[in-house]
């Protein structure tokens, strides 16, 4: 037993120190199969360091990690045979064409037959929309075209795990849309582990998210759990027309209400009600407000967070604690 418990990526206390500077500290991570796993964090958080460790491009200072249950140091070649990787700033041989680059990549995995390799290359070119530029030298490619080529070369070997380091960073909105579509399409065949700082993308496609800050894992959960305010107080939002001060006082007097914040806008009063007991809130909150017959409730619902809010709360909270 390798202890990975079926996880595609499993790390235990994985750390990396560069010349006395800690880039990654005690990372414990489990990436389940067939998930799209978003790896978030501000610049310098340790995302690329983690990816390089998994690929054997750098060695850990402490801790262990496995990919497909195989140790990243002892079985790096075996692991890389089943992985597709797109670097943050992908670099290829500038004099080679896109087709030659994909053929070269494919030849690290397959010895033949030549026609099937060519067919796979063609398939990849079509997948990323580079078929019209297949025979142009890469030195003339834009950042977006390089990124597309990067995605193609990362998939040429039907990888069981695709590792993408900031895959959409240099793409325009259409390019980003295409990349996300490709990721969603691949979900049923493979596991995708990708780092990014584009939170909208993560929210759209990820199943699970880990947030890294200053080299430490500060949150890891399924995306829905994070967006539901995992770890934060449950909050309801109510938009009311009419004089709300009485209703507000009534709510504040309830033992399960922690805080009521109000703000004005669009001819309505918005109340944000933090509660400690979700069941009591579901049962009584709206009824209590409607006891005042002079009030009209325009909107009512549990507040959901977007990933940016969650991310900023976690990062700001941690940075605040650090200082």
């Amino acid at each position: 037993m390798d202890g990975s418990n079926g996880a595609v990526i499993h790390s235990r206390g994985l750390s990396k120190v560069y010349k006395g500077v800690t880039a990654l500290e005690g990372l414990n991570l489990q990436v389940p199969p067939n998930s799209i796993f978003g790896f978030l964090g501000p610049n310098g958080a340790g995302k690329s360091t983690t990816i390089k460790l998994l690929l054997g491009l750098i060695r850990p200072s402490a801790g262990t990690a496995s990919v497909f249950g195989q140790d990243i140091q002892r079985s790096s070649l075996e692991i890389r045979k089943r992985v597709g990787y797109l670097a943050q700033d992908p670099r290829y041989y500038e004099h080679m064409t896109a087709r030659q680059t994909l053929r070269y990549t494919a030849r690290f995995f397959y010895q033949g037959p030549g026609d099937l390799i060519e067919a796979r290359v063609e398939e990849m070119l079509e997948l990323v929309g580079l078929e019209n530029k297949a025979d142009r030298q890469i030195k003339g490619f834009s950042g977006g075209e390089r990124q597309r080529l990067g995605i193609a070369q990362a998939q040429v070997n039907y990888p069981d795990l695709i590792i993408l380091d900031e895959p959409a960073a240099s793409l325009d909105p259409m390019g980003r849309h295409d990349v996300l579509a490709v990721m969603e399409r691949l979900r049923k065949y493979t596991t995708i582990f990708y780092s990014t700082h584009i939170l909208d993308d993560v929210q759209r496609v990820s199943d699970r998210v880990a947030i890294l800050n200053h080299g430490q894992l500060v949150a890891e959960a399924p995306i829905q759990e994070l967006l539901a305010g995992n770890g934060s107080a449950v909050m309801y939002q109510v938009a009311i027309k009419g004089e709300t001060w009485q209703a507000q006082k009534l709510l504040e007097s309830q033992p399960w209400v922690q805080q009521v914040l109000s703000s004005e806008g669009d001819g309505c009063t918005s109340l944000q009600v933090s509660v400690s007991d979700e069941e009591a809130a579901e049962e009584h909150l709206l009824r209590l407000i409607l006891e005042d017959r002079g009030l009209m409730v325009k909107r009512f619902g549990r507040k959901t967070y977007n990933l940016e809010e969650v991310f900023m709360n976690i990062i700001d909270g941690r940075n605040g604690n650090d200082s």
Partner: protein
């Protein structure tokens, strides 16, 4: 988690498509593919035309000028056929080793450093490519390039020039052995440059040390004959003696052995350093 992450699904899908996986060789994984690409860079592009012209002009062109043009300009330089043969051989082996060594340093200076700086080395090593395979493929392609363009073509051209100037032929087997000595000198500088490329991140240090060893060794050997026991400083004289079947110069055997040992040592250090490199 229910899915088995240990199942090599990528291999199963590829097999279903009819693709045959590359046989794994451990320390040599990726060697063949990299070597094919590197040789393609030498022979599959216009580089081979440039290199062919370059070395024929530098070595054989200069040789032809001295052998054919100078005597016609200055009739007092007319000498016998035997002397012409000796001069031609002397010119060739000195030019091939001096210019060839400098050329080898310049041609291969970027082989490792450029790949490290540009990020292509990191890209390749994210594939099933062993670090040893990367270094060995670079060495072998450099060796083939050096053998064909610097040693092989120029040696063939020099053989013809030697005949034209002296109307005498040199025994082919001894001539090839002399060319082998040239190649050994080139291997020394090739392995040194690959090693320095693995160690350093900047070309300046690499060029400084490699050219320093080349020129410094030649100068030092004028003052301290001891240098010729362990550095390839008299390789032209050795090659000439081999071709002309004359007694080998003092320290020739030691120099040849030392050159081979240095080359192996440089290769080992390159493999060790690159194996520990972080990208």
């Amino acid at each position: 988690m229910t899915a088995d992450s240990g199942v090599d699904r990528s291999a199963l899908i590829a097999a279903r498509q009819g693709l045959v996986p590359v046989k794994r060789n451990g320390r040599f994984d990726g060697f063949e593919n990299i070597l094919r690409k590197e040789l393609g860079d030498w022979f599959g592009t216009r580089r081979w035309i440039v290199q062919t012209i370059l070395w024929l002009v530098i070595i054989n062109g200069l040789m032809a000028f001295i052998l054919f043009a100078v005597p016609s300009i200055d009739p007092s330089e007319q000498v016998s056929a035997e002397e012409n043969l000796a001069i031609a051989l002397d010119l060739y082996f000195n030019f091939a080793i001096l210019f060839g060594s400098i050329g080898m340093i310049i041609l291969t200076q970027d082989e490792i450093i450029q790949e490290k700086q540009s990020g292509t080395a990191a890209w390749l090593l994210s594939k099933p490519v062993s670090r040893s395979a990367f270094i060995l493929a670079k060495l072998l392609s450099g060796l083939v390039g050096g053998l064909v363009f610097i040693a092989g073509l120029t040696a063939a051209a020099a053989y013809v020039e030697t005949y034209l100037v002296s109307h005498q032929t040199v025994q082919l087997s001894s001539y090839l052995m002399g060319t082998g000595v040239v190649l050994l000198a080139l291997v020394f500088y090739l392995t040194m440059v690959i090693m320095l490329g693995a160690i350093f991140e900047q070309r300046g240090a690499l060029l400084g040390i490699a050219v320093g060893v080349l020129l410094g060794g030649l100068i030092a050997s004028q003052f301290t004959p001891l240098v010729s026991y362990f550095l390839p400083v008299n390789m032209a004289d050795i090659a000439l003696a081999v071709v002309q079947k004359q007694p080998l110069p003092l320290a020739a055997v030691s120099q040849l052995v030392a050159t081979g040992v240095w080359s192996l040592l440089f290769t080992s250090v390159a493999l060790w350093v690159f194996g520990r490199e972080e990208f």
